[in-house]
């Protein structure tokens, strides 16, 4: 019997051409590509709206279009924060199941944000009618940054769950893991994303700022200690909006 260790000495990446090897080492590539594409579309739409002076009022759009816009924004802002978890799901799965595991996990994760979006986008239409809506949303987000609930949610974003290796059990576990992670992320970031929804069109700078905060809080291992600093930034941003 051929030793499984001897057989494994043949570098397994050798079976693949270069893109395959890259994908094997970086299973999160699909997230980066999707997030980059979402940013490109958003920047393009914002540029087009500015040039033509259109798209400013959400009441001009159907509910479906609003939700699609929400998901595009969520993909752009939250996508990069999923990378550590996506990598973990991939490397904790059998190699032949990696694509399936990642796909199920991402679908479940963003489904949670889709559900949240039906509520958050309601605030978007509200924000267009009330001048103080955005500063108020930013102040709420600042206060939430100092809460124990936020810190627990940030830690929950780092939690890994065991995944069965095969079959329906594995699929269900990946879906549950995606829902669990999505729920933790909503709990951590709902205030920031609601502020973004209230900001609506023409808020690219705010989107960049909040995306940076979200990614920093996911990637930095001392993120739970950033709360006071982020709160100050949000309060300052609210003040700038008022001025």
């Amino acid at each position: 019997m051929t030793s499984v260790l001897t057989a494994a000495r043949s570098p397994w990446w050798a079976v693949s051409v270069w893109p395959g090897r890259f994908a094997q080492r970086h299973p999160d590539w699909v997230v980066w590509v999707a997030a980059a594409a979402a940013w490109a579309v958003i920047v393009g739409l914002e540029a087009g709206s500015a040039a033509h002076g259109t798209g400013g009022d959400l009441r001009d759009h159907s509910w479906v279009v609003i939700q699609a816009g929400w998901m595009l924004m969520t993909l752009a802002m939250m996508g990069p924060s999923t990378v550590p978890a996506v990598r973990r799901v991939a490397f904790d799965s059998l190699p032949r199941r990696r694509s399936r595991a990642i796909s199920i996990w991402l679908a479940a994760y963003f489904a949670v944000w889709l559900v949240f979006g039906t509520v958050a986008t309601g605030f978007a239409t509200f924000g267009e009618r009330v001048r103080w809506a955005l500063p108020g949303a930013l102040l709420v987000a600042a206060a939430y940054e100092l809460s124990r609930r936020k810190r627990r949610a940030l830690r929950a974003c780092h939690v890994t769950v065991p995944l069965p290796p095969n079959g329906r059990k594995a699929d269900i576990a990946c879906a549950r893991a995606g829902v669990r992670h999505g729920t933790a992320c909503v709990e951590a970031c709902w205030a920031l994303m609601t502020a973004m929804a209230v900001a609506g069109h023409g808020s690219l700078l705010l989107m960049v700022l909040l995306s940076t905060i979200i990614v920093a809080q996911r990637w930095l291992v001392v993120a739970t200690r950033l709360g006071p600093h982020v709160a100050v930034i949000l309060v300052a941003t609210a003040a700038l909006v008022v001025l």
Binding site: T2, V4, R87, R88, L94, P165
Partner: protein
């Protein structure tokens, strides 16, 4: 410090007469008593020094000095070395002021923290006698023994030896690498996962290094009581001798052929904060503590302990493995949670051929490719509290069900030290993942393959408590193992 002090094996300290207290342990006991009488807010007090490790119920560190213990991280060894060094100075400063005839001037000047070498043979796996006596009676000293605490495993306090599998450092000494780069996946080496100041990393929990698991964590759990939890361990006087031995084992490892400590700036330069014997703030970095002589001490014996008893190819003992840049691939795992309740429990799961098996038949193996490694992972280990004992982990070939848990198949331990904090989302310490362990079982797989006893399609893993349950104690709380998995690289 002008003179290099020598840390001695507590079991080799000579005593005469009926008392187990010779000068070094007597001095230690009296100094502990002095520290215990100091106000808890005093940085040189017993309570404060215990809180430097962890603060009970703390959600976050109250300051930059306390609740700082580094576990499941490559900072585990250097941080504890600093912690010990400053504690030793506090003790020595007290010792030098003791007015006790039974302690000579020489001992006062040269006092150094002794270590507990539980692999020294004979009775050395037992708690040293000076820690089991309830009274300290030496000369004109007659008092409750500060080195004795009730809150330990009843049988260990009564003189039973720690289990052999708990104290064995051979697996740690066999590790060639201190840590693994994060891009290779969360595998740990001697010293633990590469992390920042934290116990977790972005894509999963930091892993304890082999030395942190065994004998460090397993001795914590098997001594039990105060020693079994982060926030009380420092209150047991044996804690310091135990960690002194762990520090000595790091030194022994570093003196073996081919072993090097990390040289990355992010390991060497991270600053930690302590207090000296005067209560003044001091700082240290990992890079500043790799040389114990520069810190003012050395060990009387850094002979590596005997190798692990399980069989391995002799050549594997000698060869220096190449460092692979490939991330291990998962090839099999359990479906369900395993519950450990103080009895042996086994799981089996199927294994798929590692990626590249087909490739080896079509392409010539790259001669420069590093030899394959096989890792067993145990993840998402959770429980409400430490059960008061560690578990051995055994990879058992088929046909050996009768002797599933024998030394030949022992791959490591579930030490379970830190389990109550591991699932606590109110702490960064370590923050909700549960515990995780990784074992390099390559040598065992090669031996079993050579004997024709390795089934490449299926693996059986057995967990067995390293010491039997105490019939006089309540049943231990259950421990849940989320997943057992096999990886090839």
């Amino acid at each position: 410090m002008a003179e290099t002090l020598v840390r001695q094996d507590v079991w080799k300290l000579e005593t005469s007469g009926p008392t187990p207290f010779e000068e070094v342990t007597l001095a230690y006991a009296l100094a502990v008593d002095v520290m215990q009488r100091r106000r808890a807010s005093d940085p040189t007090s017993w309570a404060y020094q215990a809180e430097v490790h962890a603060v009970r119920g703390a959600v976050k560190p109250p300051d930059k000095f306390r609740h700082q213990c580094q576990h499941f991280t490559w900072f585990f060894l250097p941080w504890h070395r600093m912690y010990l060094a400053w504690f030793e100075r506090i003790i020595r400063s007290i010792v030098q002021d003791l007015d006790v005839d039974a302690i000579s001037a020489e001992t006062k000047q040269t006092w150094a923290l002794p270590y507990w070498n539980y692999e020294g043979g004979g009775d050395t796996a037992k708690l040293p006698p000076a820690f089991r006596e309830r009274r300290l009676v030496v000369g004109d000293v007659d008092m409750a023994n500060p080195l004795f605490v009730r809150r330990r495993n009843r049988r260990i306090n009564a003189g039973q030896a720690l289990p052999g599998a708990s104290v064995r450092a051979g697996l740690a000494m066999a590790e060639f690498f201190f840590s693994e780069p994060p891009e290779q996946g969360p595998f740990s080496g001697l010293g633990g996962s590469e992390t920042d100041w934290h116990h977790g990393r972005g894509d999963g929990p930091g892993l304890p290094g082999e030395l942190e698991v065994t004998p460090h964590g397993s001795v914590h759990s098997d001594v039990g009581g105060l020693m079994s939890a982060f926030d009380t361990a420092g209150l047991d006087p044996i804690f310091w001798l135990h960690h002194c031995n762990i520090d000595r084992l790091w030194e022994a490892w570093a003196h073996q052929r081919g072993r090097v400590n990390p040289d990355q700036a992010r390991w060497k330069d991270l600053v930690f904060h302590f207090h000296d014997e005067s209560g003044e703030e001091v700082t240290g970095t990992s890079g500043s503590v790799v040389d114990t002589v520069a810190l003012g001490y050395e060990y009387e014996d850094i002979t590596p302990p005997p190798p692990a008893p399980r069989r391995r190819r002799q050549s594997m003992v000698e060869e220096v493995p190449q460092r692979s840049t490939e991330r291990p691939a998962m090839v099999g795992a359990t479906d369900d949670t395993v519950e450990l309740t103080g009895q042996p429990a086994s799981v089996e799961f199927s294994v798929e051929p590692p990626p590249g098996v087909d490739a080896s038949r079509r392409r010539r193996a790259a001669p420069e490719a590093p030899a394959a490694r096989v890792y067993l992972r145990v993840d998402n280990v959770e429980g409400e509290r430490n059960p008061g004992h560690s578990y051995g982990v055994f990879v058992t070939p088929p046909g050996d069900e009768e002797e599933a848990a024998v030394d030949d198949y022992h791959v490591g331990n579930l030490s379970l030290f830190g389990i109550e904090d591991a699932s606590n989302l109110d702490q960064d310490h370590p923050g909700g993942h549960g515990l995780a362990y990784s074992y390099d079982i390559t040598d065992l797989v090669e031996v079993l393959e050579a004997e024709g006893r390795w089934d490449p399609r299926r693996i059986k893993v057995t967990f067995a408590p390293n010491q039997p349950l105490d019939p006089e104690e309540d049943p231990p709380p259950p421990v849940r193992v989320g997943r057992v998995s096999l990886y090839f690289r």
